[in-house]
């Protein structure tokens, strides 16, 4: 069994990329209605914040490197009491691009069992994936494999020049942990223009300065360089988080380069703290 942290570290070693730097620029899949088994092609744009590491934010049964250098991660998902395979493969397709495919065994079985209602989408997939002469099993297998292409947009600054340090310290009340982010250039702290945080698993956005301009998740996270988190929902003035034990924090800060270009720096930290080791809110 591999945790998210282990999976991210494995990919970094095996593929030489830092998944935190990658965001999703395209996503397409045949979405399958689990009631009717009807498959519909869906190429909705991913949200701006979706990154590889969000896709990988789960535990895995196995991780292997394939002969072509791609990495395959396997896990099982439960649906209606049965276990189904989910196979995620990351492939370096050149030009700093990474493609991720997610094979969903559940979708495969649903489409196979409902071939008659899916004639149009199977035909669409044959054209789309250039599979005119392939067996129907192979076409359905491809349909059940959602693909995403992730694009890496390299920063202008030299690697390592700009960094963010995420530090933790005791909160102002029992049961709280304080997070502070500081932007550094060549190891010395500098001021940032904007800072934004995301915390997984998070919950209700209370107790923090926020832009309130909309209800998108990003705007609900703090924009200050330090804030406090708690696992106690009753604490109405700290940022409450779900679950217990381990959290993943992403801090984004932007600054202006001497040529006026705005650069954004991302840092991620997985934090384990006894303060966060409490209970499950839902009593399950």
């Amino acid at each position: 069994m591999y945790t998210t942290k282990q999976a991210l570290a494995y990919i970094q070693t095996a593929m030489g990329i830092n998944p935190i730097d990658y965001k999703c620029t395209m996503r397409e899949m045949f979405f399958v209605d689990t009631k009717t088994g009807k498959a519909t092609f869906n190429n909705a744009l991913p949200s701006a914040d979706e990154r590889i590491n969000m896709t990988l934010n789960t535990s895995w049964d196995s991780i292997v490197t394939n002969t072509d250098g791609s990495v395959t991660l396997r896990r099982t998902m439960k649906y209606s009491g049965k276990n189904y395979q989910v196979v995620t493969t990351l492939t370096n397709v050149g030009g700093m691009k990474i493609r991720i495919s997610n094979y969903m065994q559940l979708f495969d079985q649903l489409i196979s069992a409902n071939q008659n209602t899916n004639l149009a989408s199977i035909s669409q997939a044959r054209t789309k994936f250039n599979m005119a002469g392939d067996t129907i099993e192979d076409v359905i297998h491809t349909m059940a494999t959602a693909t995403s292409t992730y694009n890496f947009d390299p920063y202008e600054f030299a690697s390592g020049e700009l960094t963010i340090q995420i530090m933790t310290s005791p909160g102002t009340k029992a049961g709280r942990l304080k997070l502070t982010g500081t932007l550094h250039r060549n190891g010395s702290p500098i001021t940032h223009d904007k800072m934004r945080w995301e915390v997984w698993p998070g919950t209700a956005p209370t107790g923090l300065p926020n832009t309130t301009s909309n209800r998108n998740a990003s705007a609900q996270f703090p924009t200050s360089n330090s804030f406090e988190i708690t696992t106690d929902l009753r604490d109405r003035t700290a940022y409450p988080i779900m679950g217990s034990g381990e959290i993943r924090v992403v801090c984004m800060a932007s600054t202006k380069e001497s040529d006026g270009d705005v650069v954004q720096v991302l840092a991620e930290k997985i934090i384990s703290s006894p303060v966060l080791q409490t209970f499950n809110y839902f009593g399950l």
Binding site: Y79, P205, S213, L233, P240, Y281
Partner: protein
Amino acid sequence: MKDYYLYQISDAVEEQINVSQLICVASMTKVNGQTIMDTNEQPALELFNEKSIEAVQGGWNILDGRTPVAFVEITEEGCDYRYYNRANKHLATVVKCLVFADSSVDGIVNPGLQIEVSNGVATCTNITTINGQLWSDAQANRAIQMKGFHYVVTKVSDGNFGSVKYLLEGNGYNQLGASRKEFVTIAKQAGPNVDYVWTAKDQADAEEEVLAFNFIAAVKNESSYLRINFSQIFNS
């Protein structure tokens, strides 16, 4: 003169659980064998609207009429109450975490209208409460950053809001809130300062005109609609 509120909490419920001070801060929904966390803050009032209550082992059953539809228990584990959407909590598909609200942070909004009919003109005054206070008296806080109301007049058949016909959308709002915060007027005949005229033809129609009102508490944060039929309005 008559007051209408979106959420009606019975005294029996309020005696057992201080519902009007509770806010739902996290929900867990079981879907397809997985669980989804929802984090929008909502007043807990909706869960107890027009419900009754009975104390049972370990907590309370929430009843719809005589049928237990939910179970509530006190907890110390991160929240104050847990709400299960089944009387048997082990069968629940939705679990909600309820906590006592802090009026400096939270907003518990119960949309309300006071209706006064005089000379065929119904004046529907906004009497929404925020954290138990009249909206105009409640202090702005993190959840309540602007105050205002938005209303629509719709035509519905048999209470079916799925295929409403919009007759009027009033009190447009922007980031600063609604243009008029206090009231809306409806009359049976055209006159000065009347927002909507309920014509004789409409009154004779089988379809019903409904005034739907929601309260704007924060940017893009609105309450559910309080809906009142025109016939109810003019009988107030």
